[in-house]
Symmetry: C2
Subunit: 292 residues, 2 copies
């Protein structure tokens, strides 16, 4: 399977798994529609694909990771819904579509986010293909990386950092939590399901941290040079808010240089492991070389 | 230990457990302060006390339920924070204190709620006193009852039901999810930790459903006859929004009659079980006989 076939095939599997899970719930229809609206709003599904690519790298059946991958995408999606709210970033569009609250209203958008986060833990716990000890490890990993010590803490730090000039260290600390934590959890969840050793998990964590920073640098660069139509949202937004960004701190050329360094370091980490890293390498390039 | 001593002692244990868990997190201080602000805003801690009372009823060490009880209170607290937001009920006060978003702002309040929900699953998964299989059962139970099929679905249905006249069945369906689901999960989580049989769990579920309805009827009655100072929030709010309530559907006397019937039925269910139901009976009276 080529990398493109890998992407296409498993994107469909993940989307089918998410749809199955939501429509299995018997509750309020508007709320489920709101949840599905954002789950179906697209995106490259990088996080769930990292789960499956890690499983495949260890020669495991990727089916073992479908529920975990779907859970990860639900956590990512809930964070976008809440992030777009008027009380947060106040975005009307994401990926060229109206944001959740613009379609369903703020109250339903808050609840849809809450429901997706809750559902993520539910589908991990309900996964019939994994033993209880593995599932508990996954709940621990997801909760730690999505919560106050991870993504949510990063979102808060990001808000507090607006209109301030941050150092590169402060900027990286925020992004490691806000963006990096879920990417790390994606890779490590695949490693946990594949029974990777602790030492291997350490190396995969280094890989994840580098792609997390690369991801953010790339986002910041795209925000400067990106094209409004391609991104599907207003560009230059980070400059409007006087946020610290990599290009602002390092210049555009410096940011591109840092992007290359982190991408190289990520690939170097993969090279330390006795795995078939083909798809993980493909995802690294996908993350680092988005449209420029 | 008298019922009053039980309440006082375990309220403190639960509060200490919550505080320990939050301060163990190394992240953004403002976010943790916001989380603790609402966790410390008081209340009778009925849900976590139901967890521990159920354990005690089965002769188990209540310490086995501390983390689960704390997790339950965190889920309840997150739901209050999000419910009070301007986009939802827009409440400025709860229990006589400013609501979370009035103190920390809407963005932090949204994130504090998200972080508390995530933390709840984390502390269940991290509980060193319970086996993985039990913890997975607890995650399943909490996620199901707090999510789209439970509490969050009930909140959404409640919003959609505003300004509409509901039948008694519709009203009960909403409250079973919005309020009842967490009360049920509290009792059942105690039963799961205590290794109660499935048949016993069924009976305890009936008990929970009756106290859930009793809880809501009591809330509605207090809203009509309650005293603003005692409640610490504006009364008559449900009438302002033209919400369907038990007194509106059944008259005040009819609502009081229904409250008695559900309380009696709850106690009857407890009587079917070979357990020491002292504290569960005490909590039933506490739920049903609040200040009138």
């Amino acid at each position: 399977m080529t990398f493109e076939q890998f992407m296409e095939h498993y994107k469909q599997e993940i989307e089918a798994c998410m749809k199955r899970t939501i429509s299995a719930t018997s509750s309020d229809q508007k709320l489920e529609q709101s949840m599905m609206y954002s789950l179906e709003a697209g995106g490259k599904r990088i996080r769930p694909l990292l789960v499956l690519a890690t499983l495949i790298a260890y020669g495991k059946d990727p089916k073992l990771g479908y529920e975990t991958a779907a859970a990860m995408e639900m956590i990512h999606t809930y964070s976008l819904i809440h992030d777009d709210l008027p009380a947060m970033d106040n975005d009307d569009y994401r990926r060229g579509k109206l944001t959740n609250h613009k379609v369903y209203g703020d109250a339903t958008a808050i609840l849809a986010g809450d429901a997706l986060l809750t559902k993520a833990f539910e589908i991990i716990a309900n996964d019939i293909n994994l033993p209880a000890t593995t599932k508990i490890e996954l709940v621990q990993l997801f909760a730690k990386n999505a919560g106050v010590a991870g993504m949510v803490g990063g979102q808060q730090a990001d808000i507090l950092g607006e209109n301030k000039t941050l150092t590169l260290e402060e900027l990286e600390s925020i992004h490691q939590r806000k963006t990096g934590a879920l990417l790390t959890a994606s890779v490590l969840s695949g490693a946990i399901i594949a029974d990777a050793t602790k030492a291997e998990q350490e190396t995969l964590m280094k890989f994840s941290e580098h792609i997390g920073i690369a991801f953010q640098i790339c986002d910041d660069i795209l925000d400067v040079i990106g094209d409004a139509v391609k991104m599907g949202k207003k560009t230059g937004a980070d400059f409007d808010l006087q946020k610290s960004t990599y290009p602002a701190l390092l210049s555009l050329e410096g940011a591109k240089q840092a992007l290359t360094e982190h991408t190289t370091a990520a690939k170097h980490a993969l090279g330390m492991l006795d795995i078939d890293a083909t798809y993980l390498l493909g995802l690294t390039d996908l993350i680092a070389l988005r449209d420029f």
